[in-house]
Assembly symmetry: D2
Homo-oligomer: 372 residues x 4
């Protein structure tokens, strides 16, 4: 159910929305019941949360627990605190989102590796500070984009997603009344959910959230870089690249707007503020659980996941169908050869002055092959 | 349909969501048809937009126009560009949102004026850099909050909301083929919708958006300041204020969480990033219409309106029912009199050293009475 | 003494740096002494502040007061608090900075008005979402930039710069022991310094700071928009504009980098975060004076003034010498006429389809003439 | 030469300022000369850069090269581009800064480990959403802070600092005319400087910059969390902690302001915007080298290093001398026992309901001992 003001967000449907969150919170509560030894075989009830009740509680967990207790009995949630449930559920959503993001980045990397390899010989004008510099090849440009995408994929693949399990103030005190070893129970809880064991709780130490956020922003950075370059090279005055299928205009029949690049660039302009939001919340953490800093994380966290999901998918589609006009590239390089070769101080074929481009492409492809 | 991760956002329901946007876009297209002289008496059709089509077009206007043309004929939208419609529709949403925000700030100001007046004599400890400073009165503190709210109300009341009307590249060229005086038509368009006439188009000159954004952030700043103070004074160790009705805890029966203050503070921690987002988009404007910078505005714009709507309503409710323990304030001031009067260098009743507090309260109340 | 990592910041030398701050703080203390009736005829001493002492005090005022008391006696600063002095001094720096910024924006506006007028007939390709749209004129583009600059000049010209005068906790309590009417004394203080009278203190109600910040960011937005357009149009593939004198390259003799545009665009990418910083501080205000939120304002405030000073001056220089290749514009428009006229559905001279461009230019020029 | 508006920044003196940058750039140019086989034994000249020349060039490298060529001859810088030199020099500054930051975080961690260990038995009120929750120990709180600091130390210790070495457009073309294997030369360059070999250049793929930035922001987050807690617990109404030596007030003799905590919190409120700045620049990267996005990094990069250096040092000093009033903690916990034990549903000694606090402290200390 993508918003009209977030074009493409239907690509992220079902992963991080409210229904997914409720389902994840139910999973969390059920996992904890299992840890406590309640052999619950019943199916979880349909949970519908009343927004006014959510507001009165300050978060959706209390109303959820009320629903679940009606079905499963009063032991639901015993030993946990709201934040344990919501933080853990958000990590479950993050895991699902990251799985898809990593896949999309993988497919994007494959396309880019293909371009890097196919266009080793496609000489083109290098441009710095908007002006002609020395020649490059489109293969090298693709290898640059590829390296950014591999960096991002590494970042999102290696981020830790821990359960949150501390009880009311991070001491596991009530859990300690219910099980022999509450630290062990926290570990079992993590195992149940396939998440990382928490160690000490992170109620007010938000590294797991900010590191995830940083990795997502890094991903959008890499995609934005790529999209910005495509937007420039697809301008009609340059016309060296073209989007697979452009968007129509509401008024001009000839137009073919580079919609995917536009939307990916748009995402990359939004991600940094969302990442900063998470850091502000982390810095403002107080007490055993924060009055406001925690709550201010939620929309940014959701939106950053959704945005990165959408942009990764759009970028993969964009590059898979990218039309490269290697002839136009070469023609421009040749006509600008005077400038492009001024550094060398001698004229000639721009393709003869691309330096170590091939070796650099090889290095990028080797990293790609090793799944780095 | 408030999101579970934005508690209280149901307070903004129907004002800035997708349905409201579609309705506003339809109003915009119909107003333009009237300007063009099409005496349209038909009721606008139910419009349901397909997210995939929205993405392909890069914005929701093209699919909307398709629907409307099926109902109204091919003249719908002639002379406008997508951005004319979406920008103008967002200004219509903004107007509705601002109307409610101004009302809520007015009601909040009334409550604060009541507190300022009633608590002129309620001496309390002044605190600076967390430590006791000199005495103040709770009336003065309320007058400070009031002044911030009046500043904000002034800002949101005076911001201009223009139509956008430029056609494909801001020249009104196609409109000029359809009407005698396209600049006049743009004015008539504004009149139809009760918005300000645009002058030159603002497709890539985003002052109308950023000024609105700045006014909303200023509002959240003022509310956040108030909420931060309430959170401190409602701590059990201080216990000079109390929220009207606190939120329950999922695990601790005694707890009464200051939920409204927490959520208002949370909003104030989010607004600055949203405002910065709008400015980044403004700064990155390019060409006659921007590739990405425009699109990156939409979610921030929507969210900032929703957040301010919600926080204004929550703050009004919070202050309307705020419990003030003037005795506790006085007891603390008296017991800390040694510190509070150290500046004066003589001991005595803290109430005798509140300086010009009354005159300052009067000035704030006078401004409030003049609806400033 | 411009930093090497802030090229052009020497243009702001002496306006907002540490020496200017110390001089402003001395002026503030002296003005207050006059208000208190101390007929001080002595020249203020040379003040050198020890950074370690500044840190121990948490701000530069306490060490300054120590120096001044050695020269002027113990009455210096009586009735004020550190924040009164520092906030007021920053407003003095802001006034000096704004004076220059308004002048530079005025000179920039004059240049832009000249371009708008001279290039009414310079038809060029309109570009939206990077692709050819309908024709525009370069005069209209200049009028768009002009309108943004006039918006900004209006914003920076109309912002209020109040003194801060509240004493230890905003009550003017100690001042009330020294003068008959401390509120009147605050007004006299403002008069002495040529600043606006404060009304209630704004120690934790930071509207004066954030409104100034917003106006500065708006200015950088307008300049960034202009610079982004110049950067695009000065690309060698487009070659419709050229900077007056480009920067050399460290390695390529032919290069002429559009350095001024690059630096102005760089400024516009920085300002939004600085503005957000001020709002975060405003939102986090607490107590009678804030523990940290106030301090976090200082570098952002200084930097935002310096950045806007620098960028305004650079932009004025850039536009004053901008080389416009109207022939290149027309050649491109003619060669792309098929696309540019597709909306109209008939071919011909692009110059015949620029709509209301002239009227829109006239409106912008009329506003410029009225000094709006 | 700490700025008056950045109290404590003298702690970072000489590490990231302009003199340090010039020295680092000279080191970079000399290292490259060695790679090229120039056995340069001369001492580098004193370099003084003219700000106006820096602006004309758009960066400080070109004027520097001019100076160096006067001393060393025309081969200086051959094969490099300005960005190679400036990016590499910034990595050298970063390395020096990180060395000190890691040391300060180590000393801070040692102090925190001491507190965690010493205060295992110091029961105190746990607070969530500002209200009493269940009991905790101060040892556990210290272990929480410690864990955040260890996270941060890990992050800043493991970030890669590569040389930048690509030549005019990242192809190493001119280097390839000067040496047999330019990729090998880039590796030798890295070895000379003790930095990581670059692989493909990162002129427009800014992961090295943003990852460093993210690690610094994470550090400030952890320090800000600690400082926020100290500020709360040092309030006179709570009085469970006290800064080693507070700052004086300019007007109130009794005051002892928690200056170090205030300044550390102030830093943590600034770092997120600086980190976002770096990401915006990364996302906006274009071409082979960016027009503005690169330049907008410089002040943020410098300031973020300086801020983290300062805050780490301040935090280490703060915690080393932190006064803990364990009796006050216990007294409050006992007097609030009714609330603190409401979750358990039975009364008694709060110290009997601290759950797994000891085990969690042990885990944190074990990580600290393993230098994790």
């Amino acid at each position: 159910m993508g918003s009209l003001r977030e074009p493409g967000s239907h690509r992220a449907a079902g992963v991080v929305d409210d229904d997914a969150l409720v389902a994840a919170m139910v999973r969390v509560e059920v996992a904890w019941m299992r840890v406590l030894g309640a052999s619950n075989e019943q199916v979880a009830p349909e949970v519908v949360l009343d927004p006014a009740e959510v507001e009165r509680a300050g978060n959706p967990v209390l109303p959820l627990v009320k629903s679940l207790r009606a079905a499963f009995g009063g032991n639901v949630h015993r030993g946990l605190t709201s934040q344990d449930v919501l933080d853990t559920a958000m990590m479950l959503l993050a895991r699902d989102a990251l799985t898809t993001i990593v896949e999309d980045l993988g497919s994007l990397a494959d396309s880019l590796a293909g371009l890097a390899s196919a266009h080793r010989g496609s000489v083109m004008a290098g441009r710095t500070l908007t002006q002609y510099a020395v020649p490059v090849t489109f293969g090298l440009k693709a290898a640059q984009w590829l390296t950014g995408v591999l960096d991002a994929r590494y970042a999102v693949s290696t981020v830790d997603l821990p359960v949150q399990c501390g009880g009311a103030a991070g001491t596991l005190a009530l859990a300690g009344e219910l099980v022999a070893d509450p630290v062990d129970a926290a570990r079992a809880f993590a195992d149940q959910l396939g998440l990382v064991a928490p160690g000490i709780s992170w109620h007010t130490r938000r590294t797991p959230v900010t590191r995830l956020g940083d990795a997502l922003v890094e991903t959008c950075d890499a995609l934005g870089h790529l999209a910005s370059d495509v937007l420039l090279l697809a301008r009609p005055e340059v016309a060296e690249l073209r989007e697979p299928s452009g968007g129509a205009s509401s008024t001009m029949p000839h137009k073919r707007n580079p919609v995917l690049s536009v939307l990916v660039r748009s995402a990359s302009l939004q991600a940094p503020q969302l990442g900063a939001q998470l850091h502000i919340c982390a810095a403002d953490s107080q007490d055993e659980r924060s009055p406001g800093a925690w709550h201010a994380e939620w929309p940014a966290f959701r939106r950053l996941l959704e945005l990165t999901l959408t942009a990764s998918s759009q970028a993969a589609e964009l590059v898979a169908g990218l039309e490269v006009d290697a002839d136009a590239m070469r023609r421009r390089a040749e006509s600008a050869a005077g400038d492009l070769l001024s550094e060398r101080g001698s004229s000639g074929d721009p393709a003869s002055y691309v330096g170590a481009s091939d070796a650099l492409i090889d290095a990028a492809l080797a990293r790609w092959k090793s799944r780095g």
